[in-house]
């Protein structure tokens, strides 16, 4: 069990650290790189949580798909100009303080009520077979409707991206 804890802590530190780097790097490409790192560590967390399928999705779809897209765009817009400009908005301090206060509130709230803080009773061991199978079954049995909707969503995204990105209307 200790091992697990240690792994968890390493992963979370990695995740948080890289996340912080994501939002602090001057160069957008670096940010993207660090985001990938974050995604990897989060993926690791999934793995710890026995969500192998999700881990796979995370790596393939997220890192392999979305982040590449990001990088494309970052390259597309000329970053050398952007990189030379100030990276933080004028209200950054204000924002920071606000979020700090908010986080403070959250932590305090949770700490204050942690006695009451309990989840619904833990479930019993999952269905037989691997996680992937379970997820697959769930998707196509109980979650058929969401899948349909998701398909529409992706269609919309596709059309939208096309409309937005293609050189000229027509």
């Amino acid at each position: 069990m200790q091992l697990q804890k240690i792994a968890f802590f390493i992963l979370s530190v990695l995740a948080l650290g890289s996340a912080i780097l994501v939002i602090t790097r001057r160069n957008a490409v670096h940010s993207a790189m660090w985001l990938i790192a974050t995604l990897f560590s989060v993926g690791g967390i999934y793995l710890m949580l026995r969500a192998e399928f999700l881990f796979a999705v995370q790596i393939i779809l997220y890192v392999g798909g979305i982040m590449v897209l990001f990088l494309f765009v970052v390259m597309l817009v000329n970053l050398d100009v952007a990189a030379r400009q100030a990276q933080f908005s004028r209200q950054w301090l204000l924002g920071l303080v606000t979020v700090a206060v908010l986080a403070g509130e959250l932590v305090y709230g949770l700490y204050r009520g942690h006695a009451a803080l309990r989840l619904a009773p833990a479930g019993v061991a999952a269905a037989t077979g691997g996680n992937t199978e379970a997820v697959g079954l769930a998707l196509y049995q109980n979650y058929t409707l969401p899948v349909e909707i998701a398909s529409i969503m992706l269609l919309v995204a596709m059309v939208g991206a096309v409309v937005m990105a293609k050189k000229k209307l027509e």
Binding site: Q4, S12, V22, L49, I66, F88, V124, A157
Partner: protein, 100 residues
């Protein structure tokens, strides 16, 4: 066995960082990345819970979240390109044509 609170905290951390990113960065793309961070935070929560409940619902939800992230990224980046085409910038605080 790690109690879900830990994951919760991790999630909160990521979430917070994401919000900070949204509030402070000028570069629209980076803001978009920060939003991705928030989504990951959500996912961590979901998966942690799903493991706690020994049910895959959470993971399924997470999958859909990722899908959504993909869709958003596609559309969002499309918009950003269009924006860049129009005014050669990706800075959030230069998008100020519309106010009051």
């Amino acid at each position: 066995m790690i109690p879900p609170e830990y994951y919760l905290l991790l999630g909160t951390g990521l979430f917070t960082i994401g919000v900070i990113g949204v509030l402070t960065r000028r570069n629209v793309i980076v803001i978009l990345m920060s939003i991705e961070l928030i989504l990951n935070a959500v996912n961590i929560n979901l998966v942690a819970f799903s493991q706690w409940f020994k049910s895959v619902d959470g993971q399924v939800f997470a999958i859909f979240v990722i899908t959504d992230a993909a869709a958003e990224a596609a559309v969002g980046l499309g918009l950003i390109i269009a924006l860049f085409r129009n005014k050669e910038t990706v800075n959030a605080d230069e998008i100020d044509l519309l106010k009051w």
